[in-house]
């Protein structure tokens, strides 16, 4: 092993110190930037409305609000859902759909008279029960878990649904 000469040693020290500085500052910055990836996804049930607000056989647009939104979030803390009342009571009482088309996420639009959901982006069509009636969607509309508590309808919060889920 040849002994380190003075200049090689000083060069290495300089490079090492520079890397150290970048690391020291970089770790907290990267940690802060990537934090959203490691945050637990929203969970738990939030209230939608009174059960009585939903007439039998009707599909209705509702919105729920993020439970702890950032103060400046404005309307982005809201999420829209399509709620379909199927029966008077029981486990088949409701179907709750995310508004996002399963193709690329655009909001689907309920045509009450024709009883279909139409997507404005690429023309995806779904029947009232969320199954695909035509167009590019690869799967039925994403559904949310729901439960009835007293006279209220609650739905489970969830991240933006993507094609990989479900």
């Amino acid at each position: 092993m040849s002994p380190l000469d003075r200049r090689t040693f000083l060069s290495r020290i300089t490079v090492a110190l520079s890397v150290f500085i970048a690391g020291l500052v970089g770790v907290p910055i990267l940690g802060n930037l990537l934090a959203p990836l490691f945050r637990a996804p929203p969970d738990g049930f939030v209230e939608v409305a009174k059960v009585a607000d939903f007439a039998l056989g009707v599909t209705k647009l509702v919105s729920i609000r993020d439970q702890s939104p950032l103060a400046w979030a404005g309307q982005t803390a809201d999420t829209a859902l399509w709620v379909r009342r199927r029966e008077d009571a029981g486990p088949q009482m409701f179907q709750v759909f995310n508004v996002n088309c399963t193709h690329l996420g655009c909001p689907v639009n309920w045509q009450a008279s024709a009883k279909i959901f139409l997507c404005p982006c690429h023309g995806g069509v779904y029947y009232a029960d969320g199954t695909v009636a035509g167009g590019p969607p690869p799967r039925p509309l994403f559904e949310r878990e729901w439960q009835v508590s007293g006279d209220r309808l609650l739905v489970r919060q969830q991240p933006l649904p993507t094609v990989k889920q479900g």
């Binding site: 193709h103 008279s113 279909i116």
Partner: protein, 473 residues
């Protein structure tokens, strides 16, 4: 008089003092006067101006971007209002925003012209491979700026574009969901999303762009501007540098012998951008962003429309591959160009494959853009109405059918006499094509992209509707 003459000498004295203290003569001025091939004095020199024109528009984008950032509030609850203020109330705000908008389009166009010229002139070959690679990264930066900039408009379409972008990112293998979360900065589009796009658009990508422009210009000066190609005279790696030195030996200084053309074209481009901004202006904002308002038609600005159309037209099963794979393939190809073809023939007339490699994607993308402008696959959600020329004089039952045609959303996807959507077949003369039984079966049972309406049409309604459609011979 001598006093005045003395005052008149002051600017020159200041200039020579600065020149002496900064030693400009052998730094900045020497770089500006670097020799370029003498051929650039001829009309062929007009082909060498597009890089400079892009740089000029980039400076315009930085200046107008800083101006917009003085007023724009990158918070989800205020961004829309601040943009409305810029567009309608701020003094010259609409013009500044218009310049930034048309400047963005000009950047995309000029970068593509510049790259096409460099490619067809074979200027990416030895020893200028790194120029091409740094330029390819700059193309990426320009496209990323164009995309993130559109989202800062923060209207209904911008909001849903972010959702669509996240859904597209989610289609990437393995890291898809991870990418989607990174795009929206959390589990959903929300309070954290807009500030991320803002910081990316005004700090991250511009910082990278400044760095890349530095590298690109350094290489342009170090490697020298390529001589116009001569058919039959290829690049030979053993002899090229010596030959190029001889070319520069009888060359002309870039400043001002060649630079004046760059200035002329830059002026033309910036004048066009400013005139368009003043006359047409930036696109009006759509509805304010509201996730609970499900009427949206998110479509990108014109230079991304072709890609948007592609996603509508390909078979759904291939989407995961096309959304991620096609752009990836295009950029991998760009990066491989100087590595696979570093020497040999430069002149386009002897590189038919190179001409095809430029022409085919351009033609394909132009056709896709036309398709994107027309978007026949989009169902019409608002304004359902048939012209009176169709409804006038109908028997009562057919008239009821005509009402059902709009009420039951047939109109959203089918045209009659030019009114209605174009997703499904034109029904202007449907009775001439189908028997009544086939018509009933198709409406009730659906098929071939058409939903089945048996569940939403009563037997009498189905009868009324077919009676109406049967008047269309």
């Amino acid at each position: 008089m001598s006093v005045l003459r003395g005052i008149g000498k002051i600017p020159g004295q200041i200039a020579s003092w600065l020149g002496e203290r900064f030693e400009l003569e052998d730094s900045v001025l020497a770089v500006l006067r670097h020799p370029v091939p003498r051929e650039l004095e001829r009309p062929v020199g007009w082909w060498y101006v597009f890089g400079s024109a892009t740089l000029a528009v980039f400076v315009v984008q930085v200046a107008t971007g800083v101006g917009l950032a003085m007023t724009y509030v990158p918070a989800p609850n205020s961004a829309y209002d601040s943009l409305q203020f810029i567009s309608h109330d701020a003094t010259l705000g609409a013009v500044v925003r218009g310049i930034h908008y048309f400047g963005a389009g000009a950047m995309v166009v000029l970068v593509l012209i510049h790259m096409t010229q460099v490619y067809l002139f074979g200027a990416f070959k030895f020893p200028r491979e790194a120029n091409w690679l740094s330029g390819s990264l700059l193309l990426l930066a320009v496209l990323a700026m164009a995309f993130t900039g559109q989202l800062l408009r923060w209207d209904q379409d911008a909001f849903w574009s972010i959702v669509v972008a996240a859904e597209q990112a989610a289609q990437a293998p393995l890291i898809g969901d991870w990418l989607a979360h990174l795009v929206v900065a959390g589990a959903n589009v929300g309070g954290a999303t807009l500030t991320r796009f803002y910081a990316t658009h005004v700090f991250l990508i511009p910082a990278a762009t400044f760095g890349l422009i530095g590298i690109h210009l350094y290489l342009v000066v170090k490697r020298g501007i390529s001589e116009p190609p001569v058919a039959g005279v290829g690049v030979d790696r053993r002899t090229y540098r010596r030959r190029y030195e001889e070319i520069l030996g009888r060359g002309i200084p870039f400043w001002p012998d060649a630079a004046w053309r760059d200035a002329a074209i830059s002026a033309v481009v910036v004048v066009i951008v400013v005139v368009l901004a003043a006359l047409i202006g930036a696109p009006a904002l759509g509805r304010p962003p509201d996730p609970t308002l499900v009427i949206a038609d998110p479509r990108p600005d014109w230079y991304f429309l072709g890609y948007f159309a592609l996603l509508a037209l390909i078979p759904p099963a291939t989407e995961a591959i096309v959304i991620i794979g096609l752009p990836l393939l295009a950029f991998v190809f760009l990066f491989l160009v100087p590595i696979f073809w570093p020497d040999g023939e430069r002149h386009w007339s002897r590189r038919p494959v190179a001409i095809a490699a430029v022409a085919l994607p351009f033609i394909a993308y132009a056709s896709l853009t036309v398709a994107g402008l027309q978007s026949p696959w989009v169902p019409l959600l608002e304004g359902a109405n048939l012209p009176t020329s169709v409804t006038a004089g109908l028997e009562p039952q057919a008239a009821r059918g005509a009402q059902l045609f709009t009420a039951k959303s047939c109109w959203a996807c089918h045209q009659i006499d030019g009114s209605g959507g174009r997703k499904g077949p034109d029904l202007s003369h449907v009775a001439a094509r189908l028997t009544r039984e086939r018509l009933v079966a198709r409406i009730a049972g659906g098929g071939g992209g058409m939903p089945a309406f048996a569940g939403s049409l009563a037997p009498q309604e189905l009868d009324d509707l077919t009676t109406f459609l049967f008047t269309r011979k």
